[in-house]
Amino acid sequence: MLEMKNITKVVGGETHIHPTDLALERGSLNVLLGPTLSGKTSLMRLMAGLDKPASGSIHFDGADVTGVPVQRRSVAMVYQQFINYPAMTVYDNIASPMRIKGADNATIDREVRKAAELLKLTAYLDRTPLNLSGGQQQRTALARAIVKNADLVLLDEPLANLDYKLREELREELPKIFAASGAIFVYATTEPSEALLLGGNTASLSEGRITQFGRTIDVYRRPVDIVTARTFADPPLNTIELVKAGSQFTLEGKPVLSVPAHLATVSDGPCTVAFQPHHISFDRPDGSGNPLTVKTAISEIAGSESFIHVGFADARWVMLAPGVHDIEPDATLEVFVDTRHLMAFGPGGRAIGGTA
């Protein structure tokens, strides 16, 4: 188990990681989810031992490893850039961590071929990384991480530089590949969908703080605060400031959205109501009432879906609608918000009420 106790990271007077506690179990898959500069890489470097925390301690299986340099820990890391030894063949690249450890040739050969088989690199073992596609280069880097058989495997946005198809393919395979090893598996990403697809646990990061850590689906469904909810929404979370009055959320005294059962316990008064872009649609969802009249700004067509930017009162929302909708700007539309998935946040952005 990897435990980080009250660690901080300060670089040149600037705090990169605020006091953080995090415990990762062996054999678990953990996603660090957060936008660029939220501290994912800083946290990984601390986990690996590439950097020393400014304060706090790091324990591995109970032993304090705070000051232990990375070479003396059992760590493997894969980066967003495709990092391989440029002059070595794929075979030698995969073999390199074992050669440094001093394994015998028979073991090396067996492990290299096994890893190459797993990552579909068998046909390219004699090539140098320069003569491979991006996907194959990253597979080579992943194979290097696998043969190392490390206790802690850190993947820092490993699929960000790959094209869409390869990304989907590898994303599906990755958890399976590493699951067998019993290592602690940490995966940093900026994409909420990637976290949901990988499953496991998610730590949501924002400005150097872990805002929430738990099962991925729980963090997604029950964010503890609005920052976590925003981190976990792509396209961005839709919000609006409303006043709860009995069974309605109201704006300037007029009812806007009916209060769903799970938010019935929220006390009357102002709050921030939020919902995901796919919970707003042209069709009336079951059990939800009145349509909202919105004004369209722009619509973007993304393959089989459309992002429609709409305005309601002072709020700007994004609507994720299936199908291709070519909608004129400044048109007036009637849309429905699925209130069963509403989230409410009180002062300071803390989540209030029950969950859907």
Binding site: A48, L50, V70, Q71, V75, A76, M77, Y79, Q80, Q81, I83, Y85, P86, A87, M88, T89, S96, P97, I100, K101, T128, K148
Partner: protein, 288 residues
């Protein structure tokens, strides 16, 4: 797709063709013209065929000078390339040290060849030069005017002082372009300093090193100004390189035919060697 032929496009490249003709082709053809004819002045020319080429190739003078050139270039490359790499590796990668080092490195490159020659000529003189007098007072018998070895040492030190910076700057450019993640990955693997150099830095510098190697080879093979200013080709013929010999032949003795033939041979040697180096180094790049 159908190909369209537009003959007007040729007018676009015409200015370049004219420029290249005046700057390169026409002077070169003049040399070719001289190399196959004999002239006694008065604009009278007699066909000489390949006589001048054979003359040059059969003379000891040519082969001696060529040997000197080859040895000189080999020594220059053997010193400047490794030294340039070592200095580049030890230069700071960030902070105030970077601009300071870069300016210091660029300084020798900004000094004209003949000035460098004059500096070292004075610097090394036994009677008034700082280096010459210091060595003399230490009891070392150093005199580049009398001793061929001293003349060579002076020329080599001068060239190293003048041109190692170029190798340093090229290598440094190659080094700073390596993403930090490579060093991190090597650190995580527990790779040694030597492994990092051998398997990351050297392969990543390969392309710039090829350029540095070719530039330094061509430049050192064409060395002229420094020996011309410092030693004048002496003592004896010990620092008479092909270029110095060429000038002696063409201007000193006014043997225009043989001099033209020698220029063409000289040019072809540089072209051939550069092509060989380039081919060898790029093929090994493709293989790994």
């Amino acid at each position: 797709m159908e190909k369209t032929w537009n003959n007007k496009a040729w007018f676009m490249v015409l200015p370049v063709l004219v420029l290249v003709a005046f700057s390169a082709v026409i002077p070169l053809m003049t040399v070719v013209n001289y190399s196959v004819q004999d002239t006694f002045g008065n604009n009278e020319f007699f066909w000489a065929g390949t006589d001048w080429f054979l003359d040059v190739l059969e003379s000891d003078r040519f082969w001696d000078a060529l040997t000197r050139n080859l040895i000189f270039s080999a020594i220059i490359l053997a010193i400047e390339i490794p030294l340039g790499i070592v200095i580049a590796l030890n230069m700071p990668k960030k902070g105030i040290g970077v601009p300071i080092c870069l300016v210091l490195m660029a300084l020798p490159l900004l000094i004209p060849w003949n000035v460098v020659g004059t500096i070292w000529q004075v610097f090394g003189r036994v009677d008034i030069g700082l280096l010459g007098r210091t060595l003399a007072s230490l009891g070392i018998n150093y005199n580049y005017v009398q001793n061929p070895l001293d003349a060579w040492v002076t020329l080599i030190i001068m060239d190293v002082w003048h041109w190692t910076s170029l190798v340093v700057l090229l290598c440094y450019a190659g080094l700073v372009s390596i993403p930090d993640a490579y060093y991190q990955a090597a650190k995580i693997d527990g790779a040694s300093r030597w492994s990092v150099f051998r398997y990351i830095q050297l392969p990543k510098m390969k392309r710039v090193l090829l350029i540095a190697f070719l530039l330094r080879f061509m430049d050192s093979f064409m060395i002229y100004t420094e020996p011309f200013v410092v030693t004048g080709g002496g003592p004896g013929n010990s620092t008479t390189f092909l270029s110095i010999d060429l000038v002696k032949m063409a201007i000193g003795q006014f043997d225009l035919g043989p001099a033209a033939a020698l220029s063409i041979i000289y040019f072809l040697i540089i072209l051939l060697l550069s092509w060989i180096f380039y081919t060898v180094m790029t093929t090994s790049d493709a293989q790994g």
